[in-house]
Amino acid sequence: MALFVQAIRGPILLITVGALFALHQANIIEISRSWPLILIVVGVMKLMERLFLPPVPPPFAGGPRP
């Protein structure tokens, strides 16, 4: 599932960028005002990716055990 989320990251971002520029050209909302949405989409995708990733075991600390 994590791989799937990783693979759809690009297409989703492409659709978002395309939609924002389309809205900009249609004079509905300027890209200078709507760009934070790209950050939000990237953030959400990253979050989903981490949620679905299997937990990584903690690295071995090394040194003598107490």
């Binding site: 990783q6 759809i8 990251r9 690009g10 297409p11 492409l14 659709i15 389309a22 050209q25």
Partner: protein, 468 residues
């Protein structure tokens, strides 16, 4: 079985093929126009195709790509975005390149060579239909009392050698063809190679009753003293000037730098894209649609006005005074309502309007000074901005004003009750028996004050219509 490559590549190839095929079949089809207008939809389509592809692979348990869009894909997206938005910006009539005076003029094609056009005359009826086939140059058309069409003018050909210019001149004769009541004027510029720069400037006199249909790919258009309809279409028109017309005018061009119409008795309809518009003393209905991004100035319009620009939609029943709309501000005086206005990022000042007002502003201050004799219902809403309403001291009304973030200043005394609500305030109450005035701002202050005698006198319309 061999692993399949991505689907988006072939889809893009098919689309590019279709576009070039249309270009080959229809020479008027412009690829740059298509890219400029629709490139964001191309990105969306690409994203959707890539998304569907990933979903199919996932459902078939096939190996998934690490990224739905490769690094090379993102570089292509970047180039498309830069190219698409640059062409889109350049096609705007008020783009900065045009503003600093850069035009692909004749000077870029060597020296200018002038050739006079010998006078051509054709006798006609009193109301012929004149057709200008698509050409580059200026057209000056004036109405006369004679029943004859006369064409003169001159050609300007840009060329590095006089021989080439002479050849281009003989290849592009001006021709006037009569077919019944229709007179067609052809400049034959299409016979020249696209690298030859030519402007055919025509001076045409026609009977007063003539109607005109013209297509201009580049140049100025000037018409005076006609009583037939005028229709103009074309590409990149610089200046359109009309004066003293008894009939209507329609314009639909890819870009028009400026439109000036005065003393027109018929309806005016402007479509397409353009920059400045100036209309004065118009007896017919005025419709400005499409995308006019410069200063729009309307004065003395006797019939309804419907204006739709980048950020603004305005409907008024009549303009006795003026409307001036520029980037960031709309200023109007003596409008006959009902007035309906919705705008974004624009400060609005309306003085001396009558009847109902429906005003929606996204961001911008609102200043209203309605006329005393015909105060109508008002619904005013701004998301962010101050509202100032100046009413005649004797006005009768029922006020309902509220701000969610800001204060209220009331000069009408105890008849209106003020209360505070959180960070905002409300002002409610009636003075006499009058129409409802609803004022709402989400962020901003509200001022309800008495108009000074000077303001009231100033806001009286010169000729009124207030039967609502």
């Amino acid at each position: 079985m061999r692993a399949r490559g991505p689907l988006s590549g072939p889809v893009v190839l098919i689309l590019v093929g279709i576009v070039f095929l249309i270009r080959a079949i229809s020479p008027n089809f412009r690829i740059t126009d298509l890219v400029a207008r629709f490139w964001p939809y191309g990105l969306i389509l690409w994203g959707v195709v890539a998304f569907i592809e990933v979903c199919i692979r996932f459902l078939r348990s096939a190996p998934l790509p690490r990224n739905g869009v490769s690094g090379g894909g993102w570089i292509a997206v970047m180039f498309l975005a830069i190219f698409g938005s640059s062409v889109f910006q350049f096609q705007r009539p008020d783009n900065w390149l045009r503003q600093v005076g850069f035009q692909s003029g004749i000077e870029a094609f060597g020296d200018e060579h002038q050739y006079p056009i010998e006078e051509i005359s054709r006798s006609t009826g009193t109301a012929p239909h004149i057709v200008f086939e698509d050409f580059r140059g200026d057209a000056k058309i004036s109405g006369t009392d004679a029943s004859v069409v006369t064409v003169t003018g001159q050609k300007t050909i840009g060329s590095f050698s006089p021989q080439d210019a002479d050849k281009a001149n003989t290849q592009s004769p001006v021709e006037v063809v009569t077919d019944g009541n229709t007179i067609t004027i052809r400049c034959h510029q299409d016979r020249l190679s696209s690298r030859t720069s030519i402007a055919t400037n025509l001076d045409v006199s026609v009977p007063k009753g003539a109607s005109v249909q013209a297509s201009l790919s580049h140049g100025n258009f000037d018409v005076s003293s006609l009583s037939g309809d005028i229709e103009l279409s074309g590409g990149s028109i610089e200046d359109v000037r009309l004066d003293d017309l008894s009939s209507g005018f329609k314009l639909d061009a890819r870009s028009t730098q400026s439109v000036h119409c005065s003393n027109v008795k018929g309806a005016i309809e402007l479509r397409g894209r353009g920059s400045d518009v100036e209309l004065e003393n118009i007896s017919g209905e005025v419709t400005i649609g499409g995308d006019y991004t410069g200063t729009i100035s309307l004065r003395a319009i006797a019939k309804p006005v419907h204006l739709e620009s980048m950020r603004t939609q305005l409907d008024a029943r009549q303009v006795n005074g003026y409307i001036r709309l520029e980037r960031g501000s709309l200023d109007a005086k003596n409008l006959v309502g009902p007035v309906k206005l919705s705008t974004r990022s624009t400060d609005v000042t309306l003085a001396g309007f009558t009847n109902a007002l429906d005003l929606q502003v996204d961001r911008g201050d609102v200043e209203l000074r309605p006329e005393s004799s015909a105060l109508g219902r008002m619904d005013v809403h701004t998301r962010s901005g101050n509202i100032e309403l100046a009413l005649p001291p004797s006005a009768k009304f029922a006020l309902n004003a509220g701000t969610e973030n800001g204060g209220i200043d009331n000069q009408f005394g105890d008849g209106l009750k003020e209360s505070s609500e959180g960070r905002g305030a409300r002002l409610e109450g009636s003075i006499g028996n009058g129409p409802d005035l609803n004022l709402v701002t989400q962020h901003g202050s509200i001022t309800v004050r008495k108009a000074s005698g000077e303001e009231t006198a100033e806001a009286q319309p010169s000729s009124g219509d207030s039967d609502h």
